[in-house]
Structure formats: structure tokens, C-alpha cells
């Protein structure tokens, strides 16, 4: 009977597996595909999955949505996406369907400061003010479901135009603005 207790589910043998480095890698493995979690989400009970993997599981048993690891209740709108530093890069679009649920974020206290031109972290910010635009584009409230470009808003709503979208849209806008300025000069 000693054997029986040893073979119990509480001791799955995981504790003693692999070298320390190997163990470290495993910490961020999806509990379903066993690969490093892609488009990672974490459940309220703390278990890590790829979003596509978890979504497939929830789809498989729509009437009984439980965490695959601990059987706690789980649902699509209660998982938290994880954004690591490298997660702004483009990813295989197949993995984006369906879109990961958005992170919930509240705006911090407005701490002001002109954001200027930002060319950092993979995205493209463009900020400019022209008298001909008497209104501000407040874009921080837009959410196009593209979570790879989320970042804190930069004092939006202070009378300056602010764009915080994906590079393509920014570029189009730049061209429109340039044409408009040229038109102002030559008209």
C-alpha cells in the first residue's frame, strides 16, 4: 500500500524532472501543447496557456468550462493576457484567431508631458499640432483588437493631435497631412 500512495496523483514526478535550467524553461510552457506559451493568457487560478490552446479547449466543452489543470471555473472574459517584452512582434495570423481577450487597464493619473516623437519599441508614434486642425484626435480610447500595440496613452486630449495606431495607419495619415500642407502652400 506504500506503493499506492507513492503512485498517487499528488506526486506526478514533475518535481524531480530535469535539470534546473530545464525546469526554468518549463515554467512558461503552455499546459496544453507543452510548448512555450504563445499569445499567452493566464487564468484566474494562475494557470498558463496559449490563447489558441485554451480557446480550443473551451470550445470543445462549451457546457463545462473548467481549468484543464485545477478544474476551477474558467471563462473567456476572465483570463488575463500576458505581454512579455518580445510580444510586440508580428505573429502568425493563424494564432491570432480568435483574438485574445483584451487586457483590462485603467488610465493612470494624467501626468502631462509632451510626448514628442517616439520611434521606440516597434510601434510608431506621431504627434504634431497644426493650426488648421482645431481639434484633437484622441485615440487612446480606440481599441482595434490588436493587442500587440498597446501602450500607455500619452496625455491625450490636451489639444494636440495624437496618433497611437499601427504603423500603416500612421503612414497614411502622414501622407494626407503632407498633401494637405502642400495644398496650403500652392493653393
Amino acid at each position: 500500500m506504500v506503493i499506492a500512495s507513492e503512485a498517487g496523483p499528488s506526486k506526478s514526478g514533475r518535481e524531480k524532472e530535469g535539470s534546473p535550467e530545464e525546469k526554468d524553461d518549463r515554467t512558461f510552457e503552455c499546459n496544453i501543447c507543452l510548448d512555450t506559451a504563445k499569445d499567452a493568457v493566464v487564468s484566474m487560478c494562475g494557470h498558463l496557456f496559449c490563447w489558441p490552446c485554451l480557446h480550443q479547449w473551451l470550445d470543445t466543452r462549451p457546457t463545462r468550462q473548467v481549468c484543464p489543470v485545477c478544474k476551477a471555473a474558467i471563462s473567456e472574459d476572465k483570463v488575463i493576457p500576458l505581454y512579455g517584452r518580445g510580444s510586440t512582434k508580428q505573429e502568425d495570423p493563424r494564432n491570432k484567431v480568435p483574438p485574445r481577450p483584451p487586457g483590462q487597464r485603467t488610465e493612470p493619473e494624467n501626468n502631462g508631458g509632451f510626448p514628442g516623437f517616439g520611434f521606440g519599441d516597434g510601434g510608431f508614434h506621431m504627434s504634431f499640432g497644426i493650426g488648421a486642425f482645431p481639434f484633437g484626435f484622441v485615440t487612446s480610447s480606440f481599441n482595434f483588437g490588436d493587442h500587440h500595440h498597446q501602450r500607455p496613452a500619452h496625455g491625450a486630449g490636451r489639444g494636440m493631435a495624437l496618433l497611437d495606431e499601427d504603423p500603416f495607419v500612421s503612414k497614411i495619415f502622414l501622407w494626407v497631412a503632407a498633401i494637405f500642407i502642400m495644398w496650403l502652400f500652392y493653393a
Binding site: I3, D35, Q56
Partner: protein, 161 residues
Amino acid sequence: MQSLKAGHLDASRWERRLQKELMSLMKEPPPGVEVDGDQAEQNLSLWTVHMKGAEGTLYEGESFQLQFKFSPKYPFDSPEVTFIGSNIPVHPHVYSNGHICLSILTDDWSPALSVQSVCLSIVSMLSSCKEKKRPPDNSFYVKTCNKNPKKTKWWYHDDSV
């Protein structure tokens, strides 16, 4: 989108998960459990696992063979697990055709489970047995059941054995 609708990992991820499981099972098998690695490598969707009855239990000294069949929907879909070969353990939850009445193989399956955890559950199921006997409905079941135990509507009434 298509692969998601079909409800399975794409082929390479399905393969990768099974490869990972196979590697870890060969590298660190639970006591008394041994997977036939060559066979599994030839056909990843069909594994044979050799299992020894644990010491100090009614099955000490016996050895059994388990067959695992993985559908393309694995791990969202549970594997089909049966005892095969000449020695089918005599146990209240094991039918003489090798079918096993174990809830994690159907209703309580989760994609976080693995071949290893299924093996451990079966070892533990055998180890806690107090009397070697077949399920009461064995002869009727064996005559009428589908070849695939997952097609059986199991009624899990007794969690203690």
C-alpha cells in the same frame, strides 16, 4: 481559423506534444511503467505501454500491456486506452476485453493530463484494489459494447476503487 474550428492542434503541434510526452516518458518513466519507444516513434498515434503490478498489491508479479490510441484531436480529445494482450488485470473496473472504467478517460479528461498521468492513475487504481474480480456486468458488456471504449456511456458510480 480552419484548424481551430476542426478542434485540434495543427499537425506539427500535435506531433510535438506527443514527441515531448514520449521523450519524458522514456527518460523518466514512473515506477513499473515502460513505453515501447520504437513502436511509438514509428507511429505516434499508437503506443504500447508495459506496466508491472506494484509490489505489495494484489497485482504484484503480474505484468500488463496498455494500448494508447491518439486521435488527431488529442489532447483536446482523450486517448483511447485499453488493456491488451494475454493478461488483462482482474479488477472491478476492468472488463475482460480490456476496457477500463475510469472517468479521466472520458468525462473527466483534461488536455493538461498526459500519458504519464493516465498511467499513474491506472497504477493507482490497480494498487488500491481489495478484491480481484470482474465488473458485475462484465459478460453482458463484453458481448454488446463497441470496440472503442470511448463510445460507452460509462456510469462512474464508485470512485473509491
